[in-house]
Symmetry: C2
Subunit: 331 residues, 2 copies
């Protein structure tokens, strides 16, 4: 596997650590516009394709039937940090379908927002499934099941009608096909499939433009994009890369990270999609590499500069080094 240096961790002027990986930019026809490393590298896209997985929420009619708001649609595409606004919104989605958190099959973990986690602890509480970073997506799955008159129970299984629709939506975007041979199980228990980065990038070029998609899928994408752009806090949370980029750039960039160093997204005005994977799975490198790539494609912006090249300070606030995207990603 050919991999490119993507991000250096500097200390005292020396490279202390380095992250390698692959980066792909495609148009909606799948033509390669830019790449580093191996554009055909297969990776589990994990949460980076939650927007594709949210498509059946719209194409099934569930979003209209339950009058989901743009904020709720944004949370259905999110990996959130478990703050009260996130958990309340997930609960509201479920309530609109006449359900509650008992239906969620994503499991429970403490909020990744340390502020939210400490507030929960300070109140003597413990987390529930609403705090799971995937609870909005799973609430959307429950809505889709209810709206299509299916029992939501077991919706995480690949052969549940709702999950079949979710997998089909992903395949329609990426042009890949679900195969058991490339299946894994995601952190929230739904299936995830090894997919070439090029297919993920192509899928996002389609998601961003509607080109190459069936009309109802293109319409769903056209509704999800502005919903997220108008509610960037819902997609992740305070201080997170996806939130900060979309807060600053609006509909110019749809950006979504996934576990193990994946970031993917769409640049609708350019007709492009992108996907990248850090070989070692580090989120710190994925965010910096994505920022540098976006800077290359969209031009400079303060939010991209800030994430592409970060000063590292120690516990006394002393600048001890930097996290810097490598030259290969520069314009």
């Amino acid at each position: 596997m050919h991999a490119a240096p993507l991000v250096d961790i500097m200390r005292g002027g020396h490279i202390e650590s380095q992250h390698t990986g692959s980066v792909v930019v495609c148009d909606a026809a799948g033509a390669l516009v830019f790449s580093l490393g191996d554009p055909e590298r297969a990776a589990f896209p994990r949460s980076a394709i939650k927007a594709f997985q949210a498509i059946p929420l719209l194409t099934s009619g569930a979003a209209d039937r339950f009058a989901l708001t743009p904020r709720e649609l944004a949370l259905a595409c999110a990996s959130h940090t478990g703050t009260p606004l996130h958990t309340q919104t997930a609960a509201a989605i479920l309530a609109k379908a006449g359900r509650d958190l008992v239906c969620l099959e994503c499991g429970t973990h403490w909020p990744s927002s340390t502020t939210a986690a400490r507030a929960l602890a300070a109140a003597g509480d413990t987390p529930n499934a609403l705090h799971n970073n995937c609870s909005g997506k799973h609430a959307g799955f429950v809505c889709t099941a209810v709206a299509t008159n299916r029992n939501p129970a077991g919706y995480v299984d690949a052969d549940h009608p709702t999950m079949r629709a979710v997998i089909e939506a992903v395949d329609v975007c990426t042009g890949a096909r679900m195969q058991a041979a490339r299946q894994g199980t995601d952190g929230c228990s739904i299936p995830t499939f090894m997919t070439p980065l090029r297919a993920v990038a192509t899928g996002f070029a389609r998601f961003g433009t509607g080109q190459g998609l069936p009309p109802e899928v293109a319409a769903a994408a056209a509704r999800l994009r502005p919903a997220v752009a108008a509610n960037p806090f819902m997609i992740a949370g305070e201080g997170r890369f996806d939130t900060e980029v979309m807060d600053a750039l609006g509909e110019a960039a749809f950006v979504k990270g996934g576990a193990e160093g994946v970031v993917a997204g769409a640049l609708p005005a350019l007709g492009l999609g992108f996907a990248l994977k850090i070989d070692d799975g580090a989120a710190r490198a994925a965010d910096a590499a994505a920022a540098s790539l976006l800077r290359r494609l969209l031009g400079p912006a303060p939010v991209l500069e800030r994430w592409a090249s970060q000063k590292l300070r120690n516990w006394n606030g002393i600048e001890v080094g930097a996290l810097v995207a490598c030259d290969g990603l520069r314009p």
Copy 2:
């Protein structure tokens, strides 16, 4: 830089992520016994050499003058998790020198023990410098300064007499020499120096055996090793690699991790030292690689099996993959 695959992250039977790096095993004369990747790779050893940095605490006479216990000596070598037992012990070291946490120059961060952090939050408290993972080491520096009639203020600077003694002790062990050209600043604000892994491994072979060290340094090492072996909780904390290995193996292995994917240590009965660096800085990989290396050198043990090959479960407890040290580290 030549790097070897060291740890795979598996999901659904596929390699999802991979960590590369270098591993070195040496004897006290610096002869290479085993290596993967580049044995001359330079790295900041960070906290992996805290035991070397604790040597002046003994050679200065401070440990005797203040009647430090083995538990306190172990904490002076530690990267702890900020539990009450850790912070109380750090405070006790300072009190013996007639000082308190105001003298600590390591900075403040929340305990890395989530239990301890949440308990602190639940009590309405915030952390102080005693919770810094390096507070035991810094308390030792303060003791050394006081015992040698120096003002501890500014002890983190490379030209403070106490820090000069600390740097000299590290150089005596590794055979490297302090050079400003390879200097960086550590998370706790003291200097750290880019050092070939081979020199770090050689230093630990000497630390484990006393061979090649001045008598007073060998005597200090001979006192620190059993102090840590008898108090493995102090060196790190519950569920941490260093603690679990030394809890299980006692004086057969001295093991210490550092930031950015470094682990180093001594196998005194074999006369060997080792050092490894994960290129991307991941702690999860450093621990697994170290476990696999120790299994190769010491033979099988449950604690090493557990860390060298770990099942990965998701938020529902479903087994979704594994973290596995690569074949190159197997016997």
